[in-house]
Protein backbone atom coordinates (compact mmCIF):
# COMPACT_ATOMS: atom_id res chain seq x y z
CA UNK A 1 0.00 0.00 0.00
CA UNK A 2 2.81 2.39 0.92
CA UNK A 3 3.78 2.48 -2.75
CA UNK A 4 0.42 3.97 -3.65
CA UNK A 5 0.84 6.94 -1.33
CA UNK A 6 2.10 10.02 -3.13
CA UNK A 7 3.28 13.27 -1.64
CA UNK A 8 0.96 16.09 -2.64
CA UNK A 9 1.82 19.74 -2.09
CA UNK A 10 -0.83 22.42 -2.54
CA UNK A 11 0.83 25.79 -3.10
CA UNK A 12 -1.08 28.90 -2.00
CA UNK A 13 0.23 32.22 -3.29
CA UNK A 14 -2.79 34.52 -3.20
CA UNK A 15 -4.59 36.52 -0.49
CA UNK A 16 -7.74 34.80 0.79
CA UNK A 17 -10.65 36.96 -0.26
CA UNK A 18 -9.74 38.99 -3.38
CA UNK A 19 -10.09 35.99 -5.67
CA UNK A 20 -11.60 32.51 -5.51
CA UNK A 21 -8.23 30.70 -5.56
CA UNK A 22 -7.80 30.27 -1.80
CA UNK A 23 -11.27 28.84 -1.19
CA UNK A 24 -11.01 26.56 -4.23
CA UNK A 25 -7.62 25.27 -3.07
CA UNK A 26 -8.99 24.57 0.40
CA UNK A 27 -11.97 22.67 -1.00
CA UNK A 28 -9.72 20.59 -3.23
CA UNK A 29 -7.58 19.76 -0.20
CA UNK A 30 -10.62 18.72 1.86
CA UNK A 31 -12.06 16.58 -0.92
CA UNK A 32 -8.68 15.11 -1.83
CA UNK A 33 -8.06 14.20 1.82
CA UNK A 34 -10.39 11.23 1.35
CA UNK A 35 -7.75 9.52 -0.80
CA UNK A 36 -5.26 8.88 2.03
CA UNK A 37 -2.31 10.59 0.41
CA UNK A 38 0.53 12.43 2.12
CA UNK A 39 -0.69 16.03 1.90
CA UNK A 40 1.15 19.25 2.69
CA UNK A 41 0.23 22.87 2.09
CA UNK A 42 2.65 25.68 1.30
CA UNK A 43 1.90 29.35 1.88
CA UNK A 44 4.08 31.92 0.20
CA UNK A 45 3.87 35.40 -1.32
CA UNK A 46 0.42 36.90 -0.51
CA UNK A 47 -0.74 33.35 0.34
CA UNK A 48 0.57 33.89 3.87
CA UNK A 49 -2.42 36.21 4.44
CA UNK A 50 -4.69 33.14 4.22
CA UNK A 51 -3.59 32.12 7.70
CA UNK A 52 -3.77 35.51 9.42
CA UNK A 53 -5.95 35.90 12.51
CA UNK A 54 -9.24 37.74 12.90
CA UNK A 55 -10.44 37.76 9.31
CA UNK A 56 -13.88 39.36 9.05
CA UNK A 57 -15.74 39.18 5.73
CA UNK A 58 -19.08 40.67 6.76
CA UNK A 59 -18.63 43.89 4.79
CA UNK A 60 -17.77 42.14 1.53
CA UNK A 61 -20.62 39.64 1.76
CA UNK A 62 -18.64 36.44 1.27
CA UNK A 63 -18.30 33.44 3.54
CA UNK A 64 -15.49 33.61 6.07
CA UNK A 65 -13.67 30.33 5.51
CA UNK A 66 -10.64 31.18 7.64
CA UNK A 67 -11.91 28.98 10.54
CA UNK A 68 -11.96 26.03 8.12
CA UNK A 69 -8.15 25.87 8.13
CA UNK A 70 -8.43 24.78 11.78
CA UNK A 71 -10.43 21.71 10.66
CA UNK A 72 -7.57 20.43 8.46
CA UNK A 73 -6.15 18.37 11.33
CA UNK A 74 -9.38 16.34 11.41
CA UNK A 75 -8.69 15.50 7.76
CA UNK A 76 -5.16 14.39 8.64
CA UNK A 77 -3.66 17.39 6.88
CA UNK A 78 -1.07 18.42 9.46
CA UNK A 79 1.76 20.08 7.54
CA UNK A 80 1.25 23.74 6.69
CA UNK A 81 4.56 25.25 5.56
CA UNK A 82 4.75 29.03 5.72
CA UNK A 83 7.66 30.87 4.14
CA UNK A 84 9.41 33.18 6.56
CA UNK A 85 10.65 35.62 3.91
CA UNK A 86 7.07 36.10 2.64
CA UNK A 87 5.95 36.94 6.18
CA UNK A 88 8.88 39.35 6.66
CA UNK A 89 8.25 41.13 3.35
CA UNK A 90 4.67 41.82 4.48
CA UNK A 91 5.53 42.92 8.01
CA UNK A 92 3.96 39.78 9.48
CA UNK A 93 5.26 37.45 12.17
CA UNK A 94 4.17 34.04 13.43
CA UNK A 95 2.02 35.86 16.03
CA UNK A 96 -0.17 37.26 13.25
CA UNK A 97 -1.17 33.76 12.16
CA UNK A 98 -4.05 31.80 13.67
CA UNK A 99 -3.23 28.84 15.83
CA UNK A 100 -3.83 25.62 13.89
CA UNK A 101 -3.42 22.39 15.83
CA UNK A 102 -3.84 18.71 15.07
CA UNK A 103 -4.37 15.83 17.47
CA UNK A 104 -1.91 12.97 17.30
CA UNK A 105 -3.92 9.77 17.68
CA UNK A 106 -0.69 7.80 18.22
CA UNK A 107 0.42 10.08 21.05
CA UNK A 108 -2.69 10.03 23.28
CA UNK A 109 -4.35 12.77 21.19
CA UNK A 110 -1.66 15.29 22.07
CA UNK A 111 -2.26 18.63 20.35
CA UNK A 112 0.54 19.63 18.03
CA UNK A 113 0.97 22.73 15.88
CA UNK A 114 0.39 22.30 12.13
CA UNK A 115 2.08 25.52 11.01
CA UNK A 116 5.78 25.21 10.29
CA UNK A 117 7.61 28.38 9.43
CA UNK A 118 10.45 27.66 7.03
CA UNK A 119 13.04 29.70 5.17
CA UNK A 120 12.94 30.12 1.40
CA UNK A 121 15.78 27.60 1.09
CA UNK A 122 13.93 25.07 3.26
CA UNK A 123 10.78 25.65 1.22
CA UNK A 124 12.74 24.71 -1.91
CA UNK A 125 13.58 21.40 -0.21
CA UNK A 126 9.90 20.86 0.64
CA UNK A 127 9.04 21.37 -3.05
CA UNK A 128 11.84 19.08 -4.22
CA UNK A 129 10.54 16.29 -1.97
CA UNK A 130 7.04 16.10 -3.58
CA UNK A 131 5.52 13.78 -6.16
CA UNK A 132 2.71 16.14 -7.15
CA UNK A 133 2.55 19.93 -6.84
CA UNK A 134 -0.69 21.84 -7.38
CA UNK A 135 -0.40 25.60 -7.54
CA UNK A 136 -3.21 28.04 -6.72
Amino acid sequence: MEDDVKKFLYVNRKAPYGTIYALEALEVVLIGAAFDQDVSLAFLDDGVFQLTKSQDTKEIGVKNFSPTFRALGDYEVTKLYVEKESLDERGLTADDLQEIMWEDEDDDWAEKPSIRIVSRAEMADVFADQDVILSF
Binding site: L30, P67, D74, W109
Partner: protein, 110 residues
Amino acid sequence: MSYDVNGQTVETDEEGYITNLSEWTPDLGAVIAKAEDVDMTDEHWAVVNFLRDYYEEYQIAPAVRVLIKAIKKSLGKEVGNNKYMYELFPYGPAKQACKIAGLPKPTGCV
Protein backbone atom coordinates in the same frame (compact mmCIF):
# COMPACT_ATOMS: atom_id res chain seq x y z
CA MET B 1 -39.27 22.20 -2.16
CA SER B 2 -40.12 23.62 1.24
CA TYR B 3 -41.02 22.55 4.77
CA ASP B 4 -43.90 23.82 6.89
CA VAL B 5 -43.10 24.32 10.53
CA ASN B 6 -45.37 26.06 13.04
CA GLY B 7 -47.21 27.83 10.22
CA GLN B 8 -43.97 29.09 8.61
CA THR B 9 -42.69 28.00 5.20
CA VAL B 10 -38.97 27.28 4.97
CA GLU B 11 -37.45 27.10 1.47
CA THR B 12 -35.03 24.37 0.43
CA ASP B 13 -32.94 23.44 -2.58
CA GLU B 14 -34.03 20.62 -4.90
CA GLU B 15 -32.56 17.99 -2.55
CA GLY B 16 -34.27 19.27 0.59
CA TYR B 17 -31.38 21.17 2.21
CA ILE B 18 -32.66 24.46 3.63
CA THR B 19 -31.33 27.48 1.77
CA ASN B 20 -31.17 29.98 4.63
CA LEU B 21 -29.18 28.34 7.39
CA SER B 22 -30.34 30.86 9.98
CA GLU B 23 -33.93 29.61 9.66
CA TRP B 24 -33.12 26.35 11.45
CA THR B 25 -34.78 25.49 14.77
CA PRO B 26 -35.04 22.13 16.56
CA ASP B 27 -38.73 22.08 15.51
CA LEU B 28 -37.66 22.38 11.87
CA GLY B 29 -35.09 19.62 12.45
CA ALA B 30 -37.92 17.38 13.64
CA VAL B 31 -40.01 18.21 10.55
CA ILE B 32 -37.11 17.45 8.18
CA ALA B 33 -36.43 14.19 10.05
CA LYS B 34 -40.07 13.18 9.62
CA ALA B 35 -39.87 13.88 5.89
CA GLU B 36 -36.73 11.72 5.80
CA ASP B 37 -38.47 8.91 7.71
CA VAL B 38 -36.01 9.17 10.59
CA ASP B 39 -37.35 8.58 14.09
CA MET B 40 -35.31 11.00 16.18
CA THR B 41 -33.80 9.59 19.40
CA ASP B 42 -31.34 11.20 21.82
CA GLU B 43 -28.48 9.70 19.79
CA HIS B 44 -29.83 11.27 16.59
CA TRP B 45 -30.01 14.65 18.30
CA ALA B 46 -26.51 14.23 19.71
CA VAL B 47 -25.16 13.75 16.17
CA VAL B 48 -27.22 16.67 14.83
CA ASN B 49 -26.04 18.94 17.64
CA PHE B 50 -22.47 17.82 17.10
CA LEU B 51 -22.71 18.74 13.39
CA ARG B 52 -24.14 22.16 14.19
CA ASP B 53 -21.35 22.86 16.69
CA TYR B 54 -18.75 21.69 14.16
CA TYR B 55 -20.17 23.96 11.47
CA GLU B 56 -20.30 26.89 13.88
CA GLU B 57 -16.65 26.42 14.75
CA TYR B 58 -15.14 25.52 11.36
CA GLN B 59 -17.69 26.74 8.79
CA ILE B 60 -17.86 23.35 7.09
CA ALA B 61 -19.91 20.22 7.44
CA PRO B 62 -17.37 17.44 8.05
CA ALA B 63 -16.85 14.50 5.69
CA VAL B 64 -18.41 11.26 6.96
CA ARG B 65 -15.03 9.77 7.92
CA VAL B 66 -14.20 12.87 9.96
CA LEU B 67 -17.66 12.91 11.53
CA ILE B 68 -17.47 9.30 12.69
CA LYS B 69 -13.99 9.74 14.12
CA ALA B 70 -15.06 12.86 16.02
CA ILE B 71 -18.26 11.22 17.31
CA LYS B 72 -16.20 8.26 18.48
CA LYS B 73 -14.07 10.67 20.45
CA SER B 74 -16.91 12.71 21.97
CA LEU B 75 -19.68 10.10 22.40
CA GLY B 76 -17.70 6.86 22.53
CA LYS B 77 -17.26 3.98 20.12
CA GLU B 78 -20.78 2.59 20.78
CA VAL B 79 -22.16 5.51 18.76
CA GLY B 80 -19.05 6.49 16.80
CA ASN B 81 -18.80 3.56 14.43
CA ASN B 82 -19.87 3.11 10.83
CA LYS B 83 -22.54 0.49 11.46
CA TYR B 84 -24.37 2.35 14.20
CA MET B 85 -24.16 5.69 12.42
CA TYR B 86 -25.70 4.17 9.29
CA GLU B 87 -28.43 2.62 11.43
CA LEU B 88 -29.21 6.08 12.80
CA PHE B 89 -29.08 7.74 9.37
CA PRO B 90 -29.61 5.11 6.65
CA TYR B 91 -29.04 7.56 3.79
CA GLY B 92 -25.60 8.48 5.09
CA PRO B 93 -24.68 9.94 8.46
CA ALA B 94 -23.08 13.03 6.96
CA LYS B 95 -25.59 13.68 4.18
CA GLN B 96 -28.83 12.94 6.00
CA ALA B 97 -27.82 14.25 9.42
CA CYS B 98 -26.61 17.50 7.82
CA LYS B 99 -29.95 17.92 6.14
CA ILE B 100 -31.77 17.48 9.46
CA ALA B 101 -29.26 19.81 11.13
CA GLY B 102 -30.05 22.52 8.56
CA LEU B 103 -26.52 22.57 7.15
CA PRO B 104 -25.29 22.44 3.56
CA LYS B 105 -24.32 19.12 2.07
CA PRO B 106 -20.82 18.13 3.26
CA THR B 107 -17.96 19.36 1.08
CA GLY B 108 -17.12 16.64 -1.41
CA CYS B 109 -20.53 14.95 -1.39
CA VAL B 110 -22.17 14.64 -4.79
